[in-house]
């Protein structure tokens, strides 16, 4: 605006000067008047040539051909102009643009976009946001449509790979470990969803493989599932038992085997205790702890001072897990209610199944070499929290919750009704027992700063953001080359990965992270692009029309200026024929 004002001021000054200079011009009557009139006219036309008046942008709807679009779909799409993005297949007679931003600049004033094909790539989604979008989504590609890989694990932990398969009838999905052995096999549900289970074995990153087969057993799709596990930082755990139970024995053994620093104190009645003698429940020692596992009897037996100290320690971040070992009496219910875990239910004993009751495909399961004995049916107390909105800590095979937690201050209090998980160990499922307690304890343990970050999987050649705090980081591509990053203040940077595989980074402050990059030649990529574009369509808030007024054409003003200037020159140059 200031430029325009400055320009207008300069031109006005010029016109004034010209008028001043021409005030004694040797001309007569009408010629002089025309000459004087032409000076401001020239100035005005010059201004308009330099700053052409904007016109209301109205180029209509821009049709954008993306990957997977064809001529028929383009012909059916109504619009005023058609462009093709680089991903689109060869389309005769349609202008190619390097990206959507360029297309919008070349077609100024486009009021709406109509997307044809699979959808907009990540590069163009930000550009399209805010414009009214129309997207006639094609049918999903047959294969994987969604996939959620496991988060960062500890070695030995169980994990779940959930996702959705589209377009394949009677599909079955299977998970294979890095050596190619089948770990899990499930038929997909009616809605195409599935959840496969596996277990990590060692600290490090590795790739499981997920295969999708159709009803005839032919492989239709497969994708690598990145699994990263890192040894957890050291943690201190205290076990407080109100009575000796086999559950405590195996819980203590798990904690010791898993490398936790364990203290245990188990009352055997009459004031006699088993375990570590120097367990103190004051603020200082509780703040040293990361997790306290306590049963309802030990909890009730605590003094009021100890209970207050415990509540305060949880406020400061301690994790606490209450496990129910038997029927609750009134005092125990009141104690739980004071922790915000008021329970309801008849407090009977109910069976708890942690694996699917029926094997979905017995024949295939046998082929999978599942030599492991079946899981025993465990027991739980038939209790539910009165607060139905409590977050769920664990669910059984049927999806019913048997453990819950709630936040208190910076800490968390959990409760599990599982009674006899030790039977897993006795019947040959020691690893699963450990994984079960790892899953129960992990959300509750005192929070600790992470030194390893696992970014969500990205696609080769597609923009992704990588947040890597630290002063100087060293990002290595799968081929061993170093990648330079231009990071903002938060340590995040955009990255266009050129190779599929593991990108690893190490910061100078000891933190590290990794990013798995997939090859985009997969149904999963096309389906993800489609879903992202659909989300863009649904989330689009159509702003006011003609959001960007476009500069009008300049050439008429230049022409008029040149004519006017020529006129002025001619009038000024022409001398009167008769002598003065």
């Amino acid at each position: 605006m200031t430029t325009a004002l400055l320009l207008a001021g300069l031109l006005a000054l010029g016109a004034m000067l010209a008028l001043w200079r021409l005030r004694h011009a040797p001309a007569r009557g009408s010629r002089k008047a025309a000459l004087l009139l032409l000076q401001p006219l020239c100035a005005g036309l010059l201004y308009l040539a330099l700053m052409p008046p904007s016109r209301p942008g109205d180029a209509g709807t821009l049709v954008v051909a993306t990957a997977g679009s064809d001529a028929a779909a383009l012909a059916a799409a109504a619009g005023d102009a058609v462009v093709a993005l680089p991903e689109a297949p060869p389309l005769p007679g349609i202008a190619r643009v390097p990206d959507l931003g360029t297309a919008l600049r070349r077609h100024p004033g486009s009021r709406a976009l109509r997307i044809v094909g699979d959808g907009l790539p990540a590069r163009d989604r930000d550009t399209a946001a805010g414009l009214p979008l129309a997207f006639a989504a094609p049918a999903e590609h047959a294969g994987l449509a969604e996939l959620s890989p496991p988060p960062l694990l500890v070695p030995g932990a169980a994990f779940q790979v959930a996702g959705r398969v589209s377009g394949i009838a009677d599909a079955r999905v299977e998970l294979r470990d890095p050596s190619g052995a089948r770990v899990d096999l499930q038929p997909v549900g009616r809605d195409g969803r599935f959840a496969l289970h596996g277990a990590s074995r060692a600290a490090g990153e590795t790739l499981f493989e997920l295969r999708v087969a159709d009803g005839a057993g032919r492989e239709r799709d497969h994708v690598d599932v990145p699994v990263v596990s890192m040894a957890a930082p050291a943690q201190r755990v205290l076990l407080l038992g109100g009575a000796p139970q086999p559950e405590w024995k195996y819980l203590r053994r798990w904690a010791e085997d898993a490398g936790l620093q364990v203290q245990a104190r188990i009352a055997v009645g009459g004031g006699v205790q088993l375990g570590d003698a120097d367990v103190r429940l004051d603020a200082a020692s509780l703040d040293q702890l990361d997790l306290l596992i306590v049963d309802e009897r030990a909890l009730t037996a605590l003094s009021r001072t100890q209970r207050d100290a415990l509540a305060a320690a949880v406020e400061r971040g301690l994790g606490m897990l209450v496990r129910l070992g038997g029927p609750l009496d009134g005092g125990q219910r009141a104690t739980l209610a004071a922790l915000g875990l008021a329970m309801r239910g008849d407090d009977g004993s109910a069976p708890l199944r942690l694996t699917a009751a029926l094997d979905p495909a017995p024949a295939d399961n046998a082929a999978a070499g599942s030599q492991a004995p079946p899981w025993p049916a465990l027991q739980q107390r038939a209790l539910h929290p009165q607060d139905v909105a409590l977050p769920v800590l664990a669910r059984d095979a049927a999806g019913d919750a048997y453990a819950w937690w709630r936040a208190q201050g910076r800490g968390r209090i959990g409760l599990t009704t599982l009674v006899d998980s030790y039977r897993l160990v006795l019947e040959g499922h020691g690893g699963d027992h450990a994984a079960l307690w790892s899953a129960l304890a992990s959300p509750l343990v005192r929070a600790q700063p992470r030194t390893v970050t696992v970014a969500a999987p990205a696609w080769r050649g597609e923009r992704t953001t990588l947040c890597a705090p630290g002063k100087r980081i060293d990002l290595r591509a799968p081929d061993g080359g170093s990648v330079a990053l231009l990071r903002d203040d938060a340590g995040c940077a955009a990255l266009w990965p050129r190779h599929a595989g593991w990108y690893r980074w190490h910061a100078d402050d000891g933190r590290s992270g990794m990013l798995f990059v997939r090859d985009p030649q997969q149904a999963l990529h096309a389906n993800a692009m489609r879903a992202a574009t659909l989300a863009l369509v649904r989330g689009a808030t159509p702003t006011a029309a003609a959001s960007h007024p476009q500069p009008g054409p300049r050439w008429p003003w230049w022409l008029a200026f040149v004519l006017a200037a020529g006129c002025s020159w001619w009038l000024e140059r022409r001398r009167p024929t008769e002598p003065r």
Partner: protein, 742 residues
């Protein structure tokens, strides 16, 4: 144009072509040599073709340039033709008389004299082209190439054959499988093979240049040295276990190939029972015979003869005797799936009612030196014992058995004898009272033992008459001679039990006939008298009582017991009357009978119910607490798995580094302790060897890493703490909590 002129023109053109070729050929040679040096034989061939084509085209083009005018000019150089050569080419009709005359003259001269119209050899120009071209060609060909000076990846000092490394000219691996397999000896198509264990292998290797020594280096460090034999190298060995080997020539591996020999162990034969189709067969004496058919299969062959082992089990209860005999059967059919059949006459073998005949086939395969043995499942032929009258069921097992404390017969005798000793010291009343008390004990004991007989001793209804005579006490034989009852629960096979539950049709007669495993306590025999309501269930129902509480007694035992009860009754009578000295003989006799019963059979006493006395909380932990106190729990010992596989797996996940070799070496040491025939071991060894040979190969690293995965032991999972929030996030969380609390 006359023929002479044509000949002249052709000669001139040939000379021109020869000149072009003689200049072009050295140039083509130079280009070809350059192509050879820069690109190898194929580009050289292409260059040669193209340059020769170019020279040929130039030669033709140059020759064509000699046309009629050029020929006329060259002819006119000869004075004899008097500058009139063009007359020779003009049409005769257009010539004047003088011109025709002159033309005639020229033609005469041409015919008479051979004029040379060929151009002379341009020696100087040719030499200027040819000599430098040839010199350059020689230079190009002889210029020392950088590749010959570069040291090839050959060992620095290979003895004897410096420069020329021996390469394999021919390799033959001849395998002779063990004779018993029946497989023909053959030359294998490759140096890798999968062969039966015990095969003899013979290598014959031929090399381009004779090496000093050739060995086969095995994966475990062993080596097989090859012996020189003419122009070849030979070695023989017997394949006992799977192995990987490399051909090592003069101390250095011949190539990167790692050959693999897999030993397939001989499987033991499998025997299947074709007939009978169930493992327990009931024998009826009317049957013609017992047909047994077996099928034995093996990977290489089953011995023709097999042993049919027959065991005859006679007797019942604990008095079972066995007799074994073995028949030799000859098989029929192909060697890999032989069939054995035999029809037995069980009665001829000594089968009697109540005894079992167990048959089992033992086959051998033809492995050398020791054949492998396999046995079939046992099939049992059972001749059910004749209908036996069983003792009555114990009513007490149905009723609630209350704990009853009663003295044993021996205790009664001891008490009575003690009373007799104190007789003098005691008053008459007291003596009678104590004798009476012992008599009450004797009665209790009698009633207790009477329960085994269905209370019949206390006036209960008499059992129906049984087939056997109940012998009196005097006629009873010694306990050793008593036949023991049959206890089917002890040795009946499991399938019979399942079969019972399948057709649980309450057909007790059938059950008795089938002699199945279930205790029914001889219900058919326990029909009580009129009004015995307690037996209704036993009579019409089907009492599945406790196995341990169920009792059944055979008639002899019942008779013995009855005799014991008689004696007890007599003893009781005398005791109640205050005559313990008269009671003692009866008591001793009763004890003797009870001992006989105990030795003859096992008696199952009804188990006392599990009601325990209620816990008195007031008394709980109210006692002395000396020595009780806090105790520390010992840490649970745990042996961590071998870390070498894990270390290698993790090292392979990172970028290649210096520590890889050490980790790899540690892992191979561990791997060498594994059984080579175990699944995956050879693959692992091969992957390790491959990675050692090519440390830069990324896919080899990944392949080895994948093979290591099954070796990793899943550790117990610890807890994964959630990520701590940033300070700003922590403040936000605290503020949120304060808002909620308000």
């Amino acid at each position: 144009m006359s023929a002479a002129l044509v000949r002249l023109l052709r000669g001139a053109r040939r000379r021109r072509q020869a000149i072009v070729w003689s200049a072009g050929l050295p140039l083509a040679l130079l280009a070809t040599a350059l192509g050879w040096r820069l690109g190898g034989p194929q580009p050289a061939f292409v260059v040669a073709t193209l340059t020769l084509l170019g020279v040929a085209a130039t030669a033709v083009w140059q020759a064509r340039r000699i046309d009629r005018r050029a020929l006329i000019r060259r002819l006119d150089r000869h004075h004899a033709l008097e500058d009139s050569a063009d007359l020779l080419f003009a049409a005769p009709a257009t010539l004047g008389p003088l011109q025709q005359l002159q033309r005639g003259r020229l033609e005469q001269r041409l015919a008479a004299h051979a004029y040379d119209v060929r151009e002379p050899w341009p020696w100087q120009r040719l030499l200027a082209i040819v000599l430098p071209a040839l010199a350059l060609t020689a230079a190009v060909l002889l210029w020392p190439s950088p590749s010959t000076t570069r040291p090839v990846a050959s060992p620095p000092a290979t003895a004897g054959s410096a420069g020329a490394r021996p390469t394999l000219r021919g390799a033959v691996l001849h395998a002779t499988p063990p004779a018993y397999t029946g497989l023909a000896a053959a030359d294998l198509p490759a140096l890798d093979a999968k062969l039966p264990q015990g095969s003899t292998l013979a290598w014959t290797l031929r090399f381009t240049t004779p090496p000093a020594s050739v060995t086969l280096r095995l994966h475990d460090g062993g080596a097989i040295a090859l012996q020189r034999d003419g122009d070849g190298w030979r070695a023989r060995t017997t394949l006992q276990r799977s192995l990987l080997y490399r051909i090592v020539v003069d101390g250095a591996p011949l190539d990167a190939a790692l050959h693999r020999l897999e030993a397939v162990p001989d499987r033991p034969p499998q025997v299947r029972v074709l007939e009978p189709d169930s493992s327990l067969v009931q024998w009826t004496p009317s049957a013609q015979g017992w047909t047994l058919r077996f099928e034995a299969s093996d990977d290489h062959g089953v011995a023709v003869n097999a042993q049919l082992r027959l065991t005859l089990a006679e007797g019942s209860g604990e008095n079972i005797s066995f007799r074994e005999q073995t028949l030799v059967l000859a098989g029929s059919g192909p060697a890999t799936a032989r069939r054995f059949a035999r029809t037995l006459q069980p009665q001829a073998l000594g089968l009697q009612p109540g005894s079992d005949l167990v048959a089992q086939l033992v086959v051998h395969d033809n492995r050398q030196p020791q054949p492998q043995e396999a046995r079939s499942a046992s099939v049992i032929l059972r001749w059910p014992p004749p209908e036996q009258t069983r003792a009555a069921d114990l009513e007490g097992s149905i009723k609630q058995a209350m704990p009853a404390y009663f003295r044993s017969q021996r205790q009664i005798i001891i008490d009575a004898e003690a009373l007799l000793k104190q007789k003098r010291a005691l008053a008459g009343e007291e003596y009678l009272r104590r004798s009476d008390a012992i008599g009450v004990d004797q009665r209790l004991l009698r009633l207790r033992y009477g329960q085994f007989l269905g209370e019949e001793a206390e006036g209960a209804p008499e059992p129906p008459p049984v087939a056997d005579d109940i012998p009196t006490a005097d006629a009873l034989p010694l306990a050793d001679d008593l036949p023991t009852a049959d206890m089917p629960t002890a040795d009946a096979p499991a399938p019979a039990r399942g079969a019972h539950h399948d057709d649980d049709s309450h057909d007790h007669a059938a059950h008795a006939g089938a002699h199945d495993a279930h205790d029914h306590g001889g219900e058919p025999d326990t029909r009580g008298g009129f009004g015995d309501a307690g037996n209704v269930l036993a009579e019409f129902g089907h009492t599945h009582d406790h196995a341990e509480a169920a009792t059944l007694l055979d008639p002899q035992t019942r008779a013995t017991l009855k005799a014991a009860l008689d004696q007890m009754w007599q003893s009781e009578g005398e005791l109640r009357q205050g005559h313990p000295e008269r009671a003692l003989p009866f008591a001793y006799k009763a004890l003797g009978f009870i001992k006989q019963v105990q030795q003859a059979e096992r008696i199952y006493l009804a188990r006392i119910g599990p009601e325990l006395p209620p816990i008195d909380p007031a008394r709980r932990m109210g006692g002395k607490r000396d020595g009780l106190g806090d105790r520390t729990l010992a840490p649970a010992p745990r042996t961590p798995p071998d870390p070498r596989a894990l270390a290698l797996w993790q090292a392979l996940g990172d970028a290649p580094g210096d520590a890889d070799a050490a980790t790899l070496a540690a892992f191979s040491t561990w791997l060498s302790t594994r059984d080579a025939n175990a699944t995956g071991t050879l693959d692992l060894i091969a992957a390790v060897e491959t990675l050692r040979a090519t440390p830069e190969c990324a896919s080899c690293r990944q392949r080895l890493r994948a093979r290591l995965w099954p070796l990793l032991v899943r550790p117990p999972a610890s807890a994964q703490p959630r990520a701590a929030p940033t300070p700003a996030g922590e403040r936000y969380l605290d503020a949120l909590q304060r808002t909620e609390a308000r």
